[in-house]
Symmetry: C2
Subunit: 175 residues, 2 copies
């Protein structure tokens, strides 16, 4: 006996949540949030409210089911339903993905006439920090169980930040 499920549009955020649940098993929103930070946030950034709102949306449409903790905070624990699994499979089997999007306020500022140097320097520092962070996570992930899929994406992240540092260094040098 189920209330007739709402029809929603499945977006990138939807699949992000579905993929995490599929990979890590049943999770609460808080755990989803944590998992996002450890795995996909580098190439799929979302605000933390997504970890609460998106599962609720998905559950309302029948892609997830939720059961409630008995005691304590009585948090909801989400699982992927067959419908959810099916949607995820279909999406990930499709061989095309929409092109990557870069949103870079720094370049926008330079375009608007800002002095490039302080911005360049800030960016360089930021990428260095990120790089260190990712390398730390890689170490963690290699020791832990169940994070196998995270490794390649972390690696991609490492390569990505390296390449930026490269570009930035050249920019810094040529002035």
């Amino acid at each position: 006996m189920k209330s007739n499920p709402k029809v929603i549009k499945l977006t990138g955020n939807s699949f992000a949540v579905l993929a995490l649940l599929e990979e890590f098993g049943d999770l609460t929103s808080y755990e989803i949030k944590g998992a996002m930070e450890k795995s996909i946030e580098n190439f799929w950034p979302v605000p933390h409210t997504t970890a609460y709102e998106e599962p609720a949306r998905l559950a309302a449409a029948g892609y997830l089911s939720a059961r409630q903790e008995e005691g304590g905070r009585r948090r909801r624990i989400y699982s992927v339903t067959e419908k959810g699994r099916e949607a995820l499979r279909e999406w990930s089997a499709a061989p095309t993905a929409s092109p990557p999007q870069l949103r870079d306020e720094a370049v926008l500022k330079v375009f608007a006439g800002a002095d490039p140097e302080p911005i360049r320097a800030e960016r360089e520092a930021w990428h260095r920090m990120k790089l260190a962070e990712l390398q730390g996570m890689l170490d963690e992930v290699r020791q832990a169980e169940g994070f196998e899929n995270s490794e390649p994406t972390l690696q991609a992240g490492v390569a990505y930040h390296r390449m930026w540092l490269d570009v930035l260094e050249r920019l810094g040098g040529q002035k």
Copy 2:
């Protein structure tokens, strides 16, 4: 005599529009759309409706003024007001920018367990296309007047796609 201006939040899209108008002078929405495609869309992608909606928003809040064409389509031509110029100056003078965001469905798919190879290949083709496109624009822009600021951002774009091709090539090779 002006109706009391609405208060809005200035976002990245706002500054994108302001910067374009400042750089190219007064423009219609359609021209803004064209200018976006030629300059910022690589690091600040927006749907074309932004070129219509955002100027209207900005005008309602007093950052732009609009005058109307007399005949024909009676399009609105936007100019930056003093208030707009001031806001733009303040923003671009601030030495910090929010970190760049990458949204990459392809990596998400791989994370979800998709076969990497076709996705890799598609991406490689896409970056090649983009690269050619940008190089074409660079040539254009070098001949045209008034696009001086576009050159560095186009160059950045070129570097960006080159680096992706590099990464992808290595990924392809190692398998």
